[in-house]
Every structure is written in C-alpha cells, then in structure tokens.
C-alpha cells in the first residue's frame, strides 16, 4: 500500500499488486499489456521472489524486474537470473525512483 502511494506521487502508474509470488506470476500472465517495471520482494508466502522472477522471465525474458529485499544475501542470485537491479531495504523514495528511472531508460 505504501509503495503504491509512493509510486503514484512519483508519477508512475501502478497497474497491479500481488500478495505473493504465485499471485504475481498469475497477475503478470493476466495482463494484456505487460507492465514496464516489476518491483519484486523476495520473502513471500507460497512462492518467493526468485521463483516468481524466473517464471515471469520465462514468460517474457524482456520483463524488467527490480528486486527489493531486506535480505541482501540473495542479491547475486536475483541479478544472475535476470533481475535488472537490486534495492537493499531500507531504501529512500529517491533511491527507488532513481532505479526505476534508470531501468526505464534502458527500457527505451
């Protein structure tokens, strides 16, 4: 809820919010127009961020996924499987916006 507010203020359109990894994959699959950026947490019930990232990238390897986790230990794994960036928690709104922008530029 907080990130939706933060991203909304920053001018981003949040098109979906998932409570766990499985829902994230399902939501991604259901979008007719895929999101430009996906913010992915790691520790989630049912399916974690790494597994969800792998599945989404399997569906569309061009998906831009920014990993955000308080668990720094999975940073390397997240980047190695195709996450575009990794944000250590806690991070500032500025940091988040900068990373999104950076990843968005690469999107172009």
């Amino acid at each position: 809820m907080l990130f939706r507010k933060v991203l909304g203020i920053s001018g981003f359109d949040v098109i979906g919010e998932a409570k766990n990894g499985e829902e994230a994959v399902s939501l991604y699959t259901s979008f007719p127009k895929k999101p430009d950026i996906i913010l992915m947490d790691h520790r989630m019930p049912i399916k974690n961020g790494i597994e969800a990232t792998k599945q989404i990238l399997n569906i569309n390897k061009k998906s831009k996924i920014i990993f955000t986790s308080a668990d720094n230990s999975i940073k390397q794994e997240a980047l190695s499987i195709g996450a575009k960036s990794f944000l250590d928690k806690p991070f500032s709104i500025t940091d988040l916006i900068d990373i999104i922008k950076k990843v968005s530029i690469n999107l172009e």
Binding site: V6, R43, P45, I46, D71, P90, I93
Partner: protein, 766 residues
C-alpha cells in the same frame, strides 16, 4: 473053459476081498451091484443092506450132483476118473469122505452097463488135511497181517517222512515218490513225477554230475550227492541225495533215493563263501592294515600291513610266535603286548582303540592307530587288528599344537578382549584380556563351552543376529554395541571375523574394544557441536531478523516518514498523514513484538520451562480481547464453539503467546472483509492420552501444502524464504513441545488452501 473062467474070478474075488480099499460096481442108475467086504466095513452097512443101495440114499444134494457129474463124464467120455472125492453118510449118519477111481463098465457086447472103481476112506486124511490147512491158513493170515502191518508201517514212514523218498527202476524212471515230502519240498504231486526220469528234474548244470552219481551208485550199490532239483515253481532246491540199490520181490534191481532239502544250509554256505570273498576283497583293497593274531602268530595280514611296516606278506606270515613284538617301539611295547594278549584271550577289559609307535623294517618310527576286537578264528579267540598309519596326522597335530600355542600367546598378548564361538554360539576360546574383563563384570571365568547368551546376558538380540549374519554370509562385520551393566552404559566396538573350514564358516573370532570413553567423548563433542550449531543458527537467525525483518520495518517507517514529508510539503489533508503515522506506529509495534518474541524464544532455548495446570478458556478469552483491541480498524467476526465452562490443561503463562500468535496471524494474513474467525474447543483422546483440541479457522490467504510443515521450522532451518510470520509459529511450536502438545495446520476447506487455514492445537488435559 469054465474052470479057466472060474479060476480068474476066484482069484479076482480073493484079491478084492483082501484089499483094504472098497471095491464097488454100480449100474447106470447108481445102484450097487457088487462090492467087497471092505466097502461094507467102510460104510457100516451089511452086505444085504448095501446091495442094491442107490448112491442118492447116502449122499446129500451137493455130493449127489458131484457124483452124478463125475460118473456122467466117465459115461460120456469113457475115460476113467481118478481120485474123485465126494462125501456120503455111513449107516450111522457119519460123514465119510471117500476118494474113488471110476471106470466105465461094459458088457460083453460092449454096451455101457455101469461103473466100477476102488473106494478109499480118506476122511481121516481129509480131517488131517483140513486141520493142517486151517493151521496153515491161520499162519498165512498171521503172516499176512504182520506183513500188512509192516507194509503199513513203512508206508506211514514213507508218507510222513520229511525227506523225499523215490524208487527208481534201472532206467532211473521214478516208480514211486512219497506224496507229502515230494510236494512239500518240490511242489509236485507224486503223480507228477512218477513215470518220469529223475534226470528231468535236475538243474541243467547238475545233469551230468547227477547221471554220473546214479551210474556210480548203481555200480557200487549205494551213493550220495548234493544236487539242485527244480521246484515246480521254477526255482531250484538243493537236495542231499542218498541212494541204495535193492532187489524187489520180482527180483529186479531198483534204486531207492532219499532226498533231503539242504537249501538253507547251501545258501548259508554260499553266503559264507560270499562273505569270505567280500572280506578278502575288502581287506586286500582296504587302506587300513588288517591282521589276525592268534597264539602270538600272525595268522593273516593284508597288503597294507606289509606296506606299512615295509615287510612282504610272506615275511610277516613266517614270523615266529611273538616276533611281531619287535615291530613295536620299545616305549610302547609293554602296553601293546598286554592289549594284544588280552584280545587274543577275549578278555573284556582290553582297550579297543589306541595309538602306538611302530618300527618299520628300515628302522623308521611310524605312528599307528589301532582298532582291535576279539574274534573267533578257526574255533579259537583271536585278535582282529586294524591299523592306520597316522604319522602324518601326528606330525600335523604337533605342528597344529605349536601353531595353536603361537596363536594363543598372540591372542593373549592382545589387549582387547577376544573370544571364539562355534556355530552353536558356544564359546570355545578366550584370551587373557577377556578374563580381566570378566572379573570387572563379576562373571565367573569358566565360560568355555557355554553359550554366549548365558554368559553375556546383557547382549542385545542385534548382536546374535550379527553372528548369524557372519556365519551365513562369511563376511566380517564391525559393529558397535551399547550395553547397560550395573546401571552403567558401556559402549563397545566388536569385529566379528569368520573362520572357514571347507568353505563353511565354522567359528567366529570376536575382538571387542571398549570404546566407552571414546564414545562419551564423541557424544560430548557431538553435543558441543550441536550446541555450537544451534548457537550459530540462533546467531544467524537473530542476524537475519535484524537484517531482514527490522529492515522491512524500518523500510515501512522510512517510506511513511518520506511520504509524510511530501504530503506536508504538498499540503495534503491530515487523514493521509494520520494513515502514515498509523503505519509507522504499527511498524514500531511490530518491531517491539519481534524483540519480545526473540527474548521469549531465547529464554525457551536456554532454560527448562516447567508446566502446571492452567485454565485455558480464560487465557483464550484474554487472547481474543488482545486481538480485538489491537485490530480495531479491521472488521473481525469471531465465532466460538466451546461446550465447556472451564478446561484445564498442562501448560504455563506462555499459553497466551500461543493463542495470540495464532489469532494475530489469522488477521495479519487476511485481506478479506470481514475477517472470519471460528474457534472450536473439544476434547479428544490420542495415543491413549487426553487432549484439549483448539481449532482456529480463518478465511485468510491459506498455506500451501509444502509450506504446511515448514512454517513451524523457521527458527531451526533458517529458511529465509519463509516470510511474513516472523518467528511466531516456531515459538508456538517450541512452547507446545514443552507441554507435550502438538500443532499442525489444515485447510479450512479441505483440498483448497486458498480458502483459509485451520490451525489445530492439542494440549494435554489435566
């Protein structure tokens, strides 16, 4: 002329009247016409009474017929009838037997006119004859009777004889065969053999021999032979046949044969012969030396004996009495000679089996094993000796003994206890070390021959199964055993090594090592390692809590502050700010709760927690109140199904943590509006224990099957992927473990975890 006639007539009359025989003349009717005086005297009739008397008057019917027929034949044939006898009665009625000659009388013309003859009174002679005849007949009858009795006697003897009795004629044809014996011995009826040649019944191989015997017997008047005769059933019976020639009543030479069944004897003889041949074959081919000693002489030796001692059989057989003694080693001589003496005399106290040293012809010493018995040889007791050369065995035994001594001193020098058991698990060997061990265990030392389980009563079934395995597979086995002896735990390591004989495991050597110290040190190390690992895991866990959960909390607080700042700058309404403040407050509360749980968990892990009876419903109600107070912003419907006013369980003050954790999770992981909670309290029995069952059903996000177990494990497994529930559930499980309780999670609606969860808790009822 008349004179001439008268003179012969007178002369005739003078003669007639002077002879002692009666003279008669009768006419053709039988009337007396002329007779002399003698006739009157013989008939007691006077001349006048007699003249003209018809013969019919003085004869009976039988004589009458006889006389008529006699005279008639003379009349018809003209031939005289001499010595014609007949009976008549004299004047006094006495029967007179007369003997008459009868001639036909002619007249001068040649006509038959009557008869004449001389008559003699033969009554006395006849009476004498009759008497003699009667006497003779009596004699004949007597003899006949005696003969008959004799014949009967012989017949009975013949018929009842056990031996076959045949009578042959000169052509060897059987004329008589006694019925019973012929049938009993040969199966034939007498009628089946009579009329046939005795040779027809002989064994084909004995026919020539039989014929020769018969011919020889005929010549020598007697003979004897043993011969095979065919039984009616086709088998052959051995008969001992004795024969004798005799002359029968007709004066012909006959042979009488008496045959005795000697089949049993013959078979016995054959068996004896076979037995003797077998004995000879066996002894000649035997690898055992065989000798018969009688009167201190070697009466028999086989080839093996001669080979054993290096003498030829001829040399041995020509030994002087007692010479065999020289072939016995001087040290053993007295003993052996004594045994041989006893055996030769058949004394009962002689030793049957012994070993001694013999001397070969070349002087070499050989070890011999003797088996000897007293036998009857040629009617006297003798020593029947069997010998076997055991020199090699003895040498091998000596080597084995030496080897065993070495083996024993080796195993005795080993510090580890060692025992050897056989297939029956009987102890057959132990070393010195095991003796020391036995003393410590208060086990008597005489364990040889006893079964392993009788001696080491503390051994488990596993150990015996291991021995069976080694005996079966032939593979060595290393294992560890734990034994409780005198309330102390001993740890041993044993190596079970199979000993083979002809590919079969016959014994197992066990080398035992007391590894109790090592084991205790190992256990201490293990415990230490576990503690270290637990401490390490705890450390990691707390580090993870700080780095992750606290960072998440801080993230939320930071984001709230930053947003608040933006909102303030943008002049947003206070409601937005209030919401952000609330989030910050919640995050602070979450952090505080996390720290509290860490403390409790830490305290549980470091100390033993005691339990006591506690009233659970009251605690449950307190937990519900706590939930509702803390989540006033959420719509929570709680339905409680509890038939009991009070329920006492075995627990402690941490019970409230259990209920609160479950309830808070049910609300926190629930996006529904309203949040539905159903709490059910019941009592059940499980594994013979009474439990109080608490079920917490929610309509939250649910827990997938793979996560159903690991959600309780975070504190141990440090699975960082488990998210969202902090350390709550692992704390709950740990507390319940101290209660001997249980916890698990089911789907609220079976098979569909997304419809929410049902947390089930069992706590022992008091």
């Amino acid at each position: 002329m008349n004179e001439e006639i008268k003179a012969p007539e007178a002369k005739f009359k003078a003669i007639i009247n002077n002879i002692k025989e009666g003279y008669f003349e009768v006419d053709l009717e039988g009337n007396l016409t002329f007779f002399n005086d003698t006739l009157c005297e013989l008939t007691r009739f006077s001349r006048s009474e007699l003249l003209g008397l018809n013969y019919k008057y003085i004869t009976d019917e039988e004589s009458r017929k006889k006389i008529f027929n006699g005279f008639n034949s003379v009349y018809k044939t003209g031939k005289e009838l001499a010595d014609f006898q007949y009976k008549f009665k004299d004047k006094h009625g006495k029967t007179i037997i007369g003997e008459t000659s009868v001639y036909l009388k002619y007249d001068t013309k040649g006509n038959k006119v009557g008869f004449y003859g001389l008559f003699r009174d033969i009554t006395k002679r006849k009476e004498e004859e009759e008497k003699f005849k009667a006497k003779l007949e009596r004699l004949v009858d007597k003899r006949a009777k005696e003969l008959k009795e004799s014949e009967e006697k012989y017949r009975l003897i013949t018929e009842n004889a056990n031996d076959i009795i045949d009578i042959l004629n000169r052509n060897f044809i059987i004329e008589f065969a006694n019925e019973q014996a012929t049938f009993n011995i040969l199966g034939y009826k007498s009628s089946e053999v009579v009329g046939k040649s005795v040779l027809d019944f002989l064994h084909p191989l004995d026919k020539n021999k039989g014929l020769n015997s018969l011919l020889k017997g005929t010549h020598e008047k007697e003979g004897m032979d043993e011969i095979r005769v065919r039984h009616k059933n086709g088998t052959y019976i051995w008969l001992e046949v004795k024969g004798k020639v005799f002359v029968d009543r007709n004066g012909e030479n006959k042979g009488i044969l008496i045959g005795r069944d000697i089949t049993s004897r013959k078979e016995g003889e054959l068996k004896l012969k076979e037995s003797e041949e077998k004995f000879r074959t066996l002894t000649e081919q035997s690898f055992l030396g065989i000798a018969i000693i009688q009167d201190n002489l070697t009466k028999y030796v086989n080839k093996r004996i001669s080979e054993t001692f290096g003498y030829s059989i001829d040399e041995v057989m020509t030994w002087q009495p007692g010479e065999f003694i020289k072939r016995i080693h001087p040290d053993d001589r007295n003993f052996v000679v004594e045994q041989v003496r006893k055996k030769q005399l058949g004394e009962p106290n002689a030793i049957d089996q012994y070993q001694f040293r013999g001397l070969k012809k070349n002087g070499d010493i050989i070890w011999l094993e003797v088996f000897s018995i007293t036998i009857n040889y040629e009617g006297k007791p003798a020593d029947f000796v069997t010998l076997i050369d055991i020199t090699e065995k003895k040498e091998a035994e000596a080597k084995l003994k030496e080897s065993e001594q070495q083996y024993r001193s080796t195993i005795d020098s080993i510090r580890d206890p060692i025992h050897v058991i056989d297939k029956d698990l009987k102890i057959i060997l132990i070393n010195n070390s095991i003796r020391k061990w036995l003393k410590i265990l208060d086990i008597k030392e005489d364990i040889i021959g006893k079964k392993l389980n009788e001696v080491f009563t503390f051994l488990s079934k596993k150990v015996f199964n291991e021995y069976i395995q080694v005996f079966t597979t032939g593979k060595p086995l290393i294992s560890e055993e734990t034994s409780v002896i005198k309330d102390e735990i001993y740890y041993t390591e044993s190596i079970k090594i199979p000993i083979f004989s002809e590919d079969l495991v016959i014994q197992v050597i066990t080398i035992i090592r007391d590894i109790s110290d090592h084991k205790l040190a190992q256990q201490k190390l293990k415990r230490s390692k576990r503690k270290y690992r637990e401490a390490f895991n705890r450390s990691n866990f707390y580090k993870d809590l700080i780095s992750h959960d606290i960072n998440n909390i801080l993230q939320n607080i930071l984001s709230s502050i930053e947003l608040s700042s933006i909102y303030l700058n943008e002049g947003k309404d206070t409601n937005e700010l209030k919401q952000l403040l609330k989030i910050s407050r919640e995050q602070v509360s979450r952090g505080a709760n996390l720290i509290s749980n860490v403390r409790k968990l830490s305290s549980l892990e470091e100390t033993e927690i005691s339990t006591h009876p506690i009233e659970a419903i009251e605690v449950l109600n307190q937990s519900i109140d706590f939930l509702l107070n803390n989540y006033q912003d959420k719509k929570i419907n709680i339905d409680i199904e509890n038939p009991y006013k009070t329920v006492t369980v075995q627990g402690n003050e941490l019970l409230i943590e259990i209920f609160e954790n479950i309830l808070i999770n049910a609300v926190k992981h629930n996006q529904n509006f309203p949040i539905e909670l159903k709490i059910r309290v019941s009592k059940i029995q499980k594994d013979n224990y009474n439990f109080v069952k608490f079920e917490f059903k929610d309509n939250g996000i649910g827990i997938s099957d793979p996560d159903k177990e690991i959600i309780f494990q975070r504190a141990y497994s440090i699975d960082k992927t488990i998210s969202g529930m902090g350390i709550g559930l692992s704390l709950v499980k740990k507390v319940l473990n101290t209660y001997q309780g249980q916890i698990w999670v089911d789907d609220r609606i079976e098979g569909d975890y997304s419809k929410g969860s049902n947390f089930v808790i069992l706590i022992p009822e008091v």
